[in-house]
Amino acid sequence: MKQLFIDTAHRHLTVACVENGLIVSMVHQEAFKSQSEKVMDAIHQCFTSADWQPRQLQSVILTEGPGSYTGVRIAMTIAKVLASVASIQVFTTTTLQLIAATGKNTFVMLDARSSRVYGGLVDEGQLVQSPAIYTIEQVKQFKEANSHWQFAGDLHLLNEADSQSDIREGILTCIRYARLIEDIDALTPMYLKSGEEYKS
């Protein structure tokens, strides 16, 4: 089973070719607001080093968010187009699971600007509750109230060093718990913020 993993929902660009539970090739880089220019080259690079042809691809696993409004659409556009022209299965997961990997009771927080985060609790690879938007204050309260939780993601918002996650473990965990999408046309990103919030 030749699988392509893509995450463009946040600051990083993560692309990997995965076969039978093994990461064959991977690109993982800082790509804030430049995922759109970098993603196809990254996919091409992964396929080349895996020695795969595009037509051999069988499934795409992407993060549906939560995340920045533009980034979150990048991986999804690619997946939707591929599924429209070829019999390629699409699965979705979240960036929170990618970052938490197999960690126990891990609250992942990603900068959502205006002193807010996209956050959610992940336990051994599975979301404990639906991701939501929280204020930094709320996260601080979670931290005080739950001493057994770990915190990961954009910890600089709490004036701590950002966590370094095991991205390979994260990818494999995401694939393990990914959700098969039956209707590719109906798939939409997990924005959490309403479109009208961006009124200019």
Binding site: I43, K80, A83, V85, D185, P189, G195, S200
Partner: protein, 337 residues
Amino acid sequence: MSDKSLICAIETSCDETAIAFIQDGNKVLSNIVSSQIDTHRAFGGVMPEVASRLHIEQISLVLKDSIEKAGVSMEDVDAIAFTQGPGLIGSLHIGVLASKTLAWYYQKPLVPVHHIAGHIYANAFVTNLKFPLLALVVSGGHTELVYMKEDYDFEILGTTQDDAIGEAYDKVARVLELGYPGGPAIDALAKQGTTQYVLPRVKTEKPLDFSFSGLKSAVLQLVLKEERQGRELNKANLAYAFQEAVLDEVLLKTKKALEMVDVRQVVLAGGVSANSRLRERLIHMMDSYPDIALSIPPLWCTTDNAAMIGAAAAIAFKKGIRADFTTSAKAGLDLEV
């Protein structure tokens, strides 16, 4: 190189998700356009983030539909073309990425197209373009006089210093409470109007540039004055006055351009080229230029669509213009290279 080509073209620069298959530059095999107009009508205009969200909801449906209607296999396509800009950045991204994905999967060349080039080449569906030509591009986002010495060579002679013509129509339609989009509503209402109101003439620094914001303010001032003096506003007559003033400006600048460049053809382009009064007045004006051909795009190809991008791309493809995987969408892309 022969003129034979099969182009898959994708256009998502504003509020239409559009994919077309164009053969040999002027045969439309399919031209699917999913319009967001009803959603944006509720907001009274296009909201960028909302537009981007609708594009991603439509892209796979439009793609499948367009391939099926065209009755072609993606394998047979010679190139994947896309609107690189100008436009709303979040919206452009969707089309650019969709194109790159197809180009990667089928290992096809990518051809970037400027949105205005698409509008101009919409005329290729009804005429053989004759160079040198002068294009009058009028739309919701653009008002430009473009000189083309030869195929796919663009020189901007004049542009708007403030609002695009379509924007001016939208703003005035809002003042007159005619809803969104404003162009068709004003065009229709003006037909019932006559000369009653006088609006000031426009002044611009450069002879071929346009300006519409003064006109728009003048309309607002006039409405407020009539209200203050307790007179009932005749909306039809004001729509008439506004439309005539806008078209005076557009046609005057076109005439001035014709004094400055020698051309064999004038082509009209852009969404506002659907305006019935503009068509009427331009045809009338061109009667005084018997040696210059006039081309007016077919109504179906005036508003944004991907067929026009495919028509432009067929020429760009032949000229060897290419994009690669790192090519980015450009909200403010220049037409001149």
